[in-house]
Symmetry: C2
Subunit: 365 residues, 2 copies
DNA sequence: GACGTAGGTCCTATGGAGGCC
DNA sequence: TGGCCTCCATAGGACCTACGT
């Protein structure tokens, strides 16, 4: 009788239902879960269902988890608290897929500090999550604190790791190949410029496996078509200002691009600015393609044709991987959809075969 | 002995520690939790701590939750799956604050469908969350399915509700007043134009309580200074294209703004474009202020001075509210920081007293 | 003052008691 | 008397705590 501050009406429990239906708690449990092996009389079952209904009974999943060792909760850890919001799609995709399977997401963040990852893993395993998704906002190789894992299955998302088999990442190579092919098919084969990285540039921290694949996709495709770029502009980081500077310098050097392959949308934004300042119309005078499908891609004028990172699909895929009984090993590559917009002029006949990204402007407030 | 598929090494339990230390589980429990009322000998305590350490003992929080009725888990429900990522800061702020208090976030989304909210609340209460944050990506009034709540405390985040007392929202009125005051202090008092909504416009779905407050802040401040706008441009939704059209029409009508108050950053982006096309330099020829501190605000040239929605602070505040023993009622207003950038030219003497937003371009990949 | 026992949290899995043919 | 089907009691699962020694 210590119902002083706990004004909560005390959840109705299995015992309550059992009592009202005049059966044992066991019978209630059997009815509420599996119906196979009908071990309860139809009459009792009816009474139980009725009682559960009237009392508004809902099973206590914590207790169930304790008993079954399955919590139906998945952990989601993201590597660092970034200031941009690119990767929130990962969570969203994962969350929706989890919901489909009756699971729910417990999230934790490693705020960059070392030791934080271990702490995050522990916080989740202590709560008996059935599996953990370890996600990065930028593709990279992460090490996981195996000790803190306690045997809980882990899949990497937008990242890879030597410590674990499953990983879901964007198919950068194929995506790059596809969008460059689109550019070439549209006839933009001369004066091709690559903005963001030069092959002559020494390896550095920015050359992650994902960037490498993206570059390979680009170069292989150009090469297959016998196209040789007239210029490569290295810049680090891939920011608006660097894109702007890069293209401005290019123009100052008297090189006028016919097609511009930007390694991400921010660079493209900067490029647009430099081109416009020089009186060159993006989309009209020069074809532009890019990567990521950042928010700004739609806002640009003309809207940018870009290879999107399929964050939501990747998140969903990670959940599937985790929930599959027979684990698939190795990397799962997810297609990068090409958002066909107007920064590349496309001959009518080719155009018929393309599906254009149809973004009505997203409305705000 | 059914360790067939469950290859997991079986977590070490309190009983294991007790056995190794030669004490009862109770003693272990006492040591692992509260130390007050030293009811265990220092010697035993030492042995217990040693044993726990050697075995790598970690308490099973599921079991603890079952017995204490406190899960140290907070639920986070967001209202609808929006395509933009503005509000991910809410989760981030909440998550970080929760972590500080030894809590963790369980997330659920109501995918817009009716009934989904109830389902989400149930999914969380079934798992014994200690409290629920009900967040909206756009400020609005939401009704909560009280039945499914089961007495679990709820606070609204970036939203309000008639069904619940606590709510955390941005202080739109004060934010608007502050940024308009900044504009006026900088001397931009003539040819003021408001872009986004006209007072003559009839009430509609876009006129949420948040927008109303934002508008009131603007108008009251202008009024106090005796400033009367030369034009108000209604547009719905607040998109880049509408901002562009609005300002272009304005210029076509021969009105040349001296100061432009945009109701959000997307409108501002469109305005920039229209101004630039007309040969007018934003920041130089016309001062521009705005709201939201969207990603694009930094990318613009010149970077946009805007009143930021403090998503992270709001998320943190919601957690605090939830965790406070003595609940504070009513709405918690969170300050909107003014990001002072270069779209408003500021006299040197005033400038000294301002803190400028110092955004080095965020680096990508 | 130091410690153990037993009972409570709620659900599930298993073996076994009882009834019927 | 044995076989079979109903149903239920009991024993966990890992922890906390009131009480008793």
């Amino acid at each position: 009788m210590k119902d002083r501050e706990r004004a909560a009406p005390k959840r109705v429990t299995m015992a309550d239902v059992a009592e009202r239906a005049g059966v044992s708690p066991t019978a209630v449990s059997l009815i509420m879960n599996r119906r196979e092996g009908t071990r309860v009389s139809e009459d009792a079952a009816r009474r139980i269902r009725a009682a559960a209904d009237e009392l508004g009974y809902r099973p206590n999943l914590t207790a169930r988890a304790l008993s079954t060792q399955k919590s139906h909760v998945l952990g989601f850890i993201s590597d660092l608290v970034t200031t941009d919001r690119l990767a929130s799609g990962l969570i969203r995709g994962a969350s929706q897929e989890a919901k489909k399977h009756g699971h729910v997401l417990l999230i934790a963040e490693t705020d960059g500090q070392s030791g934080a990852a271990e702490e995050a893993f522990s916080a989740l395993t202590d709560r008996q999550v059935d599996g953990i998704i370890y996600a990065a906002t930028r593709p990279q190789s992460l090490s996981i604190p195996v000790r803190a894992t306690g045997g809980t299955p882990v899949v990497m998302l937008n990242a890879v790791s030597d410590d674990v088999a499953g990983a879901v990442i964007a198919d950068e190579y194929a995506g790059a190949a596809a969008i460059v092919q689109l550019l070439l098919d549209a006839g933009h084969t001369s004066n091709v410029v690559i903005l963001g990285r030069s092959l002559d540039q020494p390896d550095d921290e920015w050359l992650t496996f994902a960037v490498r694949r993206r570059l390979n996709g680009i170069w292989d495709t150009l090469h297959s078509a016998g196209v040789v770029p007239v210029a490569q502009i290295p810049c680090q980081p891939w920011s608006v200002n660097n894109g702007h500077r890069g293209v401005r310098d290019l123009l100052d050097n008297g090189i006028r691009p016919g097609a511009l392959i930007c390694l991400n949308d921010r660079l493209a934004f900067g490029a647009y600015r430099a081109l416009t300042e020089a009186g060159i119309r993006p989309g009209g005078d020069v074809a532009v393609i890019s990567f990521d499908d950042d928010d700004i891609a739609v806002y640009l004028d003309p809207p940018l044709t870009t290879a999107a990172i399929p964050f939501e699909a990747m998140g969903a895929q990670a959940v599937q991987l985790l929930l599959q009984r027979d684990r698939v090993h190795g990397q799962q590559l997810v297609d990068m959809p090409i958002r066909v917009r107007n920064s590349v002029t496309i001959p009518a006949q080719l155009d018929l075969r393309l599906t254009h990204a149809n973004d009505d402007e997203r409305s705000a407030r």
